[in-house]
């Protein structure tokens, strides 16, 4: 028992300083976009429910790959609904997409440049879900109509770059521009992180175009990668039949083939988003089958 008590005391000793640390009270929203990185302060004082709602969405990865679909110079840059993002939403992410009521109060922030404003359907102030705007200019007529839940604190150049993107007649950007990833970070990381600068310069557009070109090239490799993946899959199934036999040499051959088969399969994973649902579901089941056999390896002894 003394040993147990000693371990318990040691654990408490090492963890007490951590428990005594001050609570992080200033969550910041970091938006990593194709145009660069921006930091926003979330208004947890006057719009606590909306700030918490956005925080949950960000932490669940809902905003990752969400595009900006509306850019009106001298007015707003607006994200689309989460459903329009590049990758489909997972079940747990969809669960979070529930409307939130309008939050306004006399002390709440106004619609000025850099404000984060939660979008909602026309005439339905309590229908805001995930789409939001970043204001490019003061727009007092929106005060009280939309929830302002944060403001820009760093990344003015990025916001300027976003506002200068050319758009079509429906204010949709001609060059796709997305939130690559959104994070909730403590305030200290804004001031102390020298790496998170604003990497915006005239080449960002070119970089974006390069990325699109790469994605297009990947699509053309689709057929080849399908054959590669299905080939490894067939190999796994064929070899698994050999597991019925248990000579040492055969087991060794089986092991090597299995590990290399799994290796080929896993390295082909980058093409997986291009497979159809049946192929990918079958691949997963094959992997589980593989785990099962490997867990039983040498059990015959």
């Amino acid at each position: 028992m003394r040993i147990g008590r000693f371990i318990l005391c040691a654990l408490l000793f090492f963890t007490m300083p951590a428990l005594a640390r001050a609570e992080v009270t200033d969550p910041m929203l970091l938006l990593q976009t194709d145009a660069g990185t921006m930091f926003f302060e979330l208004d947890t004082e006057f719009t606590p429910k909306t700030a918490e709602h956005i925080r949950k969405l960000v932490e669940a990865g809902v905003y990752d790959s969400v595009p900006f679909t509306r850019i009106e110079r001298d007015f707003v840059v607006q994200t689309s609904d989460a459903s329009e993002r590049l990758y489909p939403l997972a079940a747990n992410q969809r669960e979070l997409l529930k409307p939130i009521a309008l939050e306004t109060s006399p002390g709440a922030s106004r619609h000025v440049r850099g404000s984060l404003s939660l979008a909602h359907e026309d005439g339905k102030p309590d229908s805001g879900v995930s789409s939001f705007s970043i204001l490019l200019a003061e727009s007092r007529h929106l005060d009280g109509e939309y929830t302002v839940f944060g403001k820009l604190v760093r990344g003015e150049q990025v916001l300027q770059a976003l506002s200068e993107i050319t758009t079509d007649e429906k204010s949709r950007p001609k060059t796709p521009v997305r939130i690559i990833k959104a994070y909730i970070v403590p305030r200290g990381s804004v001031e102390n992180n020298p790496d998170v600068s604003t990497p915006v310069n005239s080449t960002w557009l070119k970089t974006n175009q390069d990325r699109i070109a790469k994605e297009t090239a990947l699509l053309t490799e689709n057929r080849k990668s399908d054959a590669w993946l299905l080939g490894s899959l067939a190999l796994l199934f064929l070899i698994s039949l050999g597991s019925l036999f248990h000579s040492s040499l055969r087991r060794f051959a089986l092991l090597v083939s299995f590990l290399s088969g799994a290796g080929f399969f896993m390295t082909g994973l980058k093409y997986v988003p291009l497979m159809n649902d049946w192929q990918i579901s079958l691949s997963f089941l094959a992997l589980v089958f593989y785990f099962r056999l490997m867990s039983r390896f040498e059990n015959s002894n």
Binding site: G61, A90, R251, L259, L269, S295
Partner: protein, 361 residues
């Protein structure tokens, strides 16, 4: 003594490894209580929990990997019994790890992904194993159908959790190594979730049937699977809870490993002292060795990755994945080893070890 040892294989009305409280807490009760705390009592600040999780890693999670390796390599007869697992598999994994260190952008993500998919599967295997041990220890005889039902339930919890996570088409990172998602379809997730709930209801119905027909149906047989459900399904939305799942898994593992260690050592003649004192010394030695083993596997080994010309930021995740992949192989066989008297050691308990020790001493 052999007769007494053989007695350990017979059914018992006392299925615990240690006692009701210790088994309840370490096999999963503590995790369920902690989840209830996270869900219903108050929201814990995850920032404050990181250091606790960090220390628990070193005192519980890493030693549990070490315990497996200790059992395989500290006994020459064990490594002789499983030569592939002891020598061939680590060599192949080492080759794959070196290739991953050399090819951080292509091989390393695949290697890490393989480990991350296999890991929850391994959890499911452990839960099933402990469930079946509890059934055996409580004197219950499972039909083939009932056994398969339990197998299906445990692995469908793994499937529902993994498929759910793999429906998101977002690349995630493991210690900085970005790895791809499988991007599984939502319909597949719904199907495996349905299978999980259906098989869960079925195993519970069978358990109730046993209860009403006065067949052995101890409450503790349900605990491993219920905890597993709490870890991967009910608790998945609480990031502060997720942080401690590896700890709960390793605590579950260590209680079994420790009982086996004591059972095995108890049959050997020891110094004339009290059983309690002997057990404390044996436990301390074994635990200290495993703490050291954990440091070797998870601190020193990644730093050896530099020899392969890799930076620590790549070597650390790759070596951690390699160590754990080997653990998955070893774990599949190492706890099924019987004692020299043909006794399945995972079926022993502390009181039986005490009797053995008294006989041997």
């Amino acid at each position: 003594m052999i007769a007494k040892l053989r007695g350990m294989n017979q059914s018992s009305s006392r299925p615990y490894f240690v006692n009701a409280f210790a088994d309840f807490m370490l096999i999963g009760g503590a995790s369920i209580l902690f989840l209830a705390l996270c869900a219903f009592v108050f929201k814990l600040n995850i920032e404050h929990l990181y250091p606790i999780a960090f220390w628990l890693n070193w005192v519980c999670n890493h030693p549990h990997f070490s315990a497996t390796h200790y059992r395989l390599y500290a006994h020459r007869e064990h490594s002789k019994l499983f030569p592939m697992t002891a020598w061939v598999i680590p060599s192949l994994i080492a080759i794959a790890a070196v290739a991953s260190l050399q090819s951080a952008d292509r091989m390393a993500p695949a290697f890490v992904k393989l480990y991350l998919l296999w890991s929850p599967y391994h959890y499911a295997g452990q839960v099933l194993g402990i469930t079946l041990i509890y059934f055996a220890r409580s004197g219950a005889k499972l039909s083939r159908f009932e056994r398969n039902l339990w197998l299906f339930f445990c692995f469908s919890i793994f499937a529902a959790s993994t498929v759910g996570a793999e429906t998101a088409r977002i690349d995630r990172h493991f210690y900085g190594i970005l790895y791809p998602s499988l991007s599984l379809p939502d319909a597949f997730h719904r199907a495996v979730s349905f299978s999980m709930y259906a098989s869960g209801a079925a195993v519970f119905a069978f358990w109730l049937k046993r209860r009403f027909s006065s067949e052995p149906a101890h409450w503790i047989v349900l605990l491993p699977a219920v905890s597993f459900y709490a870890w991967f399904i009910a608790g998945s939305r609480y990031s502060e809870f997720n942080l401690f799942v590896p700890f709960f898994h390793s605590a579950q593992y260590l209680i079994v490993a420790w009982t086996v260690q004591i059972a095995e050592r108890s049959t050997k003649p020891g110094p004339r002292t009290s059983f309690s004192r002997w057990m404390k010394i044996e436990s301390a030695k074994w635990y200290a060795l495993n703490i050291g083993g954990g440091v070797l596997l998870f601190y020193l080994l990644p730093r050896l990755g530099k020899i392969a010309g890799s930076s620590l930021s790549v070597a650390e995740p790759v070596i951690i994945a390699a160590v754990q992949l080997h653990h998955f192989f070893v774990d599949g066989v190492i706890w099924k080893i019987k004692s020299t008297h043909g006794v399945n050691l995972v079926r022993t308990d502390l009181s039986q070890s005490k009797l053995n020790w008294e006989q041997a001493t």
